[in-house]
């Protein structure tokens, strides 16, 4: 085993972009592999449920087209994790199309390994029946009744399937949903580097230059991994890492600054040290892996809830702002009466920006009330047509709704747009964000080889 390996994290998310200077500088030295993660549940369940990508195709194409040929020329494997953001089959296939398009345009030939991470609903049913599905990260108990509504259930696997793909000698590895760390820890673990350090480095690397100052998920990071330490350095000379900036990264979107959990086990950072070892480089030591006691697999799935339609309006009249509760009650009643012969399967929500919408009504309404407020009314129904109908009724009712001391008798709402209503498309919720106990379950995620450009 070589004593040291060096890799490039292209950027914090495929499609977020990176500086060409970073790429140039990173390529100035040897690189063992290039990784880029795309996975996130942050933008909500819509992307997983609908099979659409959070990042636009042209952005992904830009990020890959600059690096692909250079990497192939130098025989540096590229690993793409959680393709398309959510990493279900439609996301993976879209990124695969992008890669094929670049190959065709740049006349490239290479071996690609694709790993799908979709799981069958029959497995969910079996696992739920056997009591194998447990909450994680604060999720509620799994409701097996949601299985028929779940779209694109995926497993978030760790390093093993990526290691298997690397062993095929693939030039490009395109993975479905996987742990962010798996993208960057698979190669080092395969080469025998300590898993604790490899996973800690991976956790930092997966966000690109977010651990640097100025922080940037839209730029690259170079990691040098050794048997007893790793060093992170942004290849863009405009950025630098400091011990605090790197240590602080373990806070980001994490419930615990001293440890995190991966399928491989708990990564313990209680004894980690962060040392400035270059003008812009920080070296980390002391992180260890406490191996998992039992094998589990994280599952993600978004359940379909209906279609959304919204209307947006401003309210300036002070009596109207003071009576938004009364307006809402009146509108709900009017819609219920008028939609009765069409359906009763719809829901309405009133979001009062300026008053209490952003805080989700955790707090009492603003006092004093604002001079202006925005009213967003939302309808969710089983079809887009019914949602559109419900919002149309709600909007016209709200415009003319009576309330105490009403002086603005010609209309309550200032619509900034015509048309005033907007289709929001499908609505989902994360109903599956759980760990599956894997003991006795035979489930493998195998790479499939595709010869691109032949």
């Amino acid at each position: 085993m070589s004593d040291e390996l060096r890799y490039l994290s292209l950027c914090g998310m495929l499609g977020y972009g990176y500086s060409p200077v970073s790429l140039e500088n990173a390529f100035a030295d040897k690189l063992d592999f290039i990784g880029v993660d795309a996975g996130s549940t942050d933008p909500g369940p819509y992307y997983l449920g609908s099979g659409k990508s959070f990042v636009k195709t042209l952005q992904m194409k830009r990020d890959l087209s600059l690096v692909l040929k250079r990497a192939l020329d130098r025989k540096i494997p590229i690993i793409i994790g959680s393709a398309g953001g959510s990493g279900a089959r439609p996301h993976v296939e879209r990124v695969l199309e992008v890669i094929k398009e670049i190959a065709s345009e740049q006349d490239l030939k290479f071996k690609l390994a694709v790993i799908y991470s979709d799981v069958e609903k029959s497995l969910l049913e079996k696992a739920a029946a056997e009591g194998r599905i447990h909450p994680c990260g604060g999720s509620p108990e799994f409701d097996a009744n949601s299985i028929p509504r779940i779209c694109n259930p995926v497993a978030q696997f760790g390093t093993d399937p990526i290691i298997e793909a690397l062993k095929t000698g693939a030039d490009v590895i395109l993975s479905g949903r996987c742990c962010d760390t798996a993208v960057f820890a698979a190669f080092p673990i395969m080469k025998g580097f300590p898993a604790g350090l490899a996973l800690h480095a991976a956790k930092i690397a997966e966000c690109g230059a977010l651990c640097a100052r100025p922080a940037g998920a839209n730029d690259s990071l170079v990691v040098t991994l050794r048997k007893d330490s790793f060093t992170v350095e942004p290849p863009d000379p405009e950025r630098k890492c400091t011990p605090d900036s790197v240590a602080a990264h373990s806070l980001y979107e994490q419930p615990d600054p001293y440890c995190f959990y991966e399928p491989e086990g708990m990564i313990d950072m209680r004894n980690s040290s962060f040392e400035q070892t270059g003008e812009r480089a920080v070296t980390v030591r002391g992180t260890v892996l406490v191996p998992a006691a039992k094998e589990t697999l994280k599952l993600e799935g978004a359940a379909f809830c209906g279609f959304r339609s919204i209307t947006i309006a401003g309210v300036r009249d002070p009596n109207a702002i003071a009576n938004l509760d009364a307006v809402e009650a009146g509108v709900r009643k009017a819609v219920a009466i008028n939609i009765k012969n069409i359906t009763d399967d719809y829901s309405l929500r009133f979001l009062r920006y300026g008053v209490d919408a952003a805080g989700g009504r955790l707090e009492a309404p603003a006092d004093p009330l604002p001079r202006e407020a925005a009213l967003v009314i939302e309808a969710i129904a089983p079809t887009q047509d019914i949602a559109d109908t419900a919002i149309s009724l709600a909007r016209s009712s709200a415009l003319h709704q009576q309330f105490p001391n009403r002086k603005s008798t010609a209309g309550n709402l200032a619509f900034p747009f015509s048309p005033s209503d907007f289709k929001g498309g499908e609505v989902y919720e994360f109903s599956l964000y759980h760990l599956m106990d894997m003991e006795g379950i035979d489930l493998e995620f195998r790479p499939e080889i595709i010869e691109v450009g032949k």
Binding site: G44, P45, A247, E253, P255, P257, S347, R349, G359, Y433
Partner: protein, 100 residues
Amino acid sequence: MRIYDIAFVCRSKNAGPFQLTVDLMFKTREEFDRVLNSPRFVPETIAPLYRTTPDKVQIKVFERILTIKVVLPRLCGSGSPEDTDVYGSQQHFPLGDLDI
């Protein structure tokens, strides 16, 4: 004094779709200690602000960078029909208003 006025970073974000993390960063040890040691800065006070119970409020201290993390349950999953803040990035209030 409000926590929001003492901390130089007061931010919230999802920690997965079902949890929120509120991070409070301080410039000085005194400010950090003032909040951390306040009898009001305890799960019993914070829980009702977020409509949860004290056992579900975790306070984690990252002393090396004078940071306190408060982990809270979300009232509903990120992006679900009931949600009002998909990224959870404006949920540092009401905690920011807690008077220390």
